[in-house]
């Protein structure tokens, strides 16, 4: 494996008696796009701020391109950052904002002007150079902030919830634009977000954080389909969790609300009588029996929500409720609340949470 470009080693951060980040480790490859995903207060922004130099780790070290930057000041790190609140300088025009880092670095004016024009082209706002930030929309401001961050060609790009203040449509288009610019420039990027869809859609890898720790680091596919912990499974995507009791560990039999399902090969380390949390993604469940789905549970339709192309159905199974989505078909009316129903799934899709 090649030398990581960014290496966060055993980093810890405490504010007084409160530890907000503990033993955080992460290696990021050159050009990789890694997201820190987690709920508010999980420490994701604190880790990012330690990489930026705005917070000093209480322990551990941060290495970029083989150089220990743990004690360097933010203005000595050659790192670009985009903030949630845009943070454009209100007294400077768009071009002056983008050129700020270049001017500070002492780049000759003709070169700086050329680089600013390049950046304006890159973010597709070539005519906006003379405008002031207050004359731009939120999405445009954040693109300018991105251009300002990458103009001085930083080693590392840090994005601190850059899409949170924008409306849904702009958020989607801007995240795609960020990803495409990042790929084009090949710049190693850390992206902080609490939005799982955002993280899943644009990251090479995701570090799911909880309680100041990285619960799991993996590709979006791994994080979604093979969550390592109960928290990751619950936080990423929608999940139906059913409580079950192992009735026969050897043959993989588990009782769920007085019905039996077979989970052969998934009960490693469990013994008969153990209680387990079993999880199923909505898309892994079908209404009625289907070929290729080896397990089923019976219940009663509890809720039906017509969402246009999709119908979300909630099926009560004993004391639990399972959500599943079915495609709307004009020929088949949706099920009625109170009807008996059977759901089927592949036991291989069932996640056993520890």
């Amino acid at each position: 494996m090649a030398e990581p470009f960014l290496s966060i080693q055993q980093v810890q951060k405490s504010f007084g008696a409160t530890t907000v980040v503990q033993d955080f480790n992460l290696d990021v490859e050159p050009g990789e796009f890694v997201s820190f995903l987690g709920p508010s207060g999980c420490g994701k922004t604190t880790v990012l701020r330690m990489v930026a130099g705005f917070e000093e780790p209480s322990a551990g070290k941060i290495v970029v391109a083989g150089k220990d930057i743990t004690r360097l000041k933010p203005n000595q790190r050659n790192v670009g950052m985009v903030f949630q609140a845009y943070a454009l300088f209100p007294n400077l025009t768009v071009a002056q904002n983008i050129g700020f880092g270049l001017k500070v670095a002492g780049m000759p004016k003709p070169d700086a002007d050329r680089r600013v024009a390049e950046m304006l082209d890159l973010i597709k706002l070539p005519q906006m150079g003379d405008r002031y930030p207050y004359q731009l929309s939120g999405g445009q401001q954040q693109r300018i902030a991105l251009a300002r961050a990458i103009a001085p060609k930083p080693k590392l790009l840090l994005l601190d919830e850059p899409l949170s203040a924008l409306d849904a449509k702009v958020r989607v288009s801007l995240r795609e634009e960020i990803r495409s610019i990042q790929k084009k420039l090949g710049i190693t990027t850390i992206f902080v977000t609490h939005d799982q869809e955002e993280a899943l859609s644009i990251s090479d890898r995701i570090a799911v954080m909880y309680g100041g720790k990285a619960e799991q680091v993996g590709t979006p596919f791994e994080i979604y389909n093979r969550p390592a912990t109960k928290f990751v499974a619950n936080f990423v995507g929608t999940l139906n969790v059913l409580e079950g009791t192992v009735t026969d560990a050897a043959s993989g039999k588990v009782r769920v609300n007085s019905q039996e399902v077979s989970l052969k090969g998934k009960l490693n380390g469990s013994k008969s009588g153990d209680t387990l949390s079993l999880a199923l993604r909505p898309e892994a469940i079908s209404l009625g029996r289907h070929p290729g789905r080896d397990s089923s549970l019976s219940g009663e339709i509890a809720e039906v929500h017509f969402l246009g192309s999709v119908i979300r159905v909630r099926v009560g199974i004993g004391g639990s409720t399972v959500s599943l989505d079915t495609f709307n078909s004009p020929a088949t009316p949706p099920p009625a609340v109170g009807e008996k129903a059977e759901i089927s799934f592949s036991s291989g899709d069932m996640l056993v949470l520890h």
Binding site: N75, F89, P90, N91, V104, L136, R148
Partner: protein
């Protein structure tokens, strides 16, 4: 009902206006009576021709400019740092900046005379230039409540922390951040404080008189004690200067950098 409330509103407005404007009109009218039997600007002419008027006014303007410079150098970094790094100290700093309002200038100046006399370790009062410096320091203290509040209010309108961090990550040091980002964004607030300081310094009597400096305040007092019409003319001139300063604050505030959250 609505008509009645409008009547009372106009009545209160009229009484208030009369309370402020009538004495001013009377003063102005009296200042024009120097020439017997007709209105004239003789009192103003004799003031403007008085070399003492020119000398003292120029002296006070120069002192005011240095006071403003000292105030800005003292207050902007302090208010910035308090907002950025020491927000817990804000109540204490606000209390300290309010002290000049409750400690009379005469107490401060007597303190200065005892502390900085010619026999002290810092003998400001031993020379005229040293006394000028002490006067500037004293005026900066007197103007502190106004300057600090104006700058602090200006800083409140911008996201100091994020702008600072954005500038830092782009490679800027503290001097660049304050000079190129913070100061331009609070410039109007600084100018408000500056004009208030100017208005205070131009009319101040106690400190200048007890430190025996040829300032405009003691000149105003001296004219008031020895002439009939000129004091009224001077009062009108002083009002004009103060109002001029206030108008400039209003005009300049239209040119304040606009933030995206506060476009108007």
């Amino acid at each position: 009902m609505k008509q009645g409330s409008r009547f009372w509103a106009w009545l209160v407005f009229g009484v208030g206006t009369a309370y402020f404007v009538l004495p001013l009109l009377a003063t102005f009218e009296f200042s024009l009576r120097k020439r017997r039997g007709e209105y004239s600007f003789d009192a103003y002419r004799s003031l403007f021709e008085d070399p003492n008027f020119q000398t003292t006014f120029t002296y006070s303007v120069v002192v005011a400019v240095f006071t403003i410079l000292l105030g800005v150098l003292l207050v902007v970094p302090t208010a910035y740092w308090i907002r950025l790094r020491l927000p817990n100290l804000r109540p204490l700093v606000e209390f300290i900046t309010l002290l000049p309002l409750v400690i009379p200038a005469i107490v401060i100046v007597f303190g200065y005379i005892r502390m900085f006399g010619s026999n002290s370790t810092l003998p400001f009062l031993a020379t005229a230039r040293g006394t000028d410096v002490l006067l500037v320091i004293g005026y900066a203290v007197l103007a502190l409540p106004y300057m600090y509040r104006a700058v602090d209010t200006g800083l409140r309108t911008i996201d100091v922390r994020t702008l600072t961090e954005a500038a830092q990550i782009l490679g800027a040091g503290w001097t660049t951040i304050i000079a190129r980002i913070i100061l331009p964004n609070v410039l109007i607030a600084v100018l408000s404080g500056a004009f208030l300081s100017f208005a205070i310094v131009i009319g101040e009597f106690t400190m200048a008189s007890l430190l025996n400096r040829p300032a405009f305040g003691p000149y105003l007092q001296n004219i008031g004690a020895n002439s009939a019409y000129e004091p009224s003319a001077l009062a009108i001139i002083s009002f004009a200067i103060t109002w001029g300063c206030m108008s400039l604050i209003q005009i300049l505030s239209r040119f304040a950098p606009k933030s995206a959250n506060r476009p108007n």
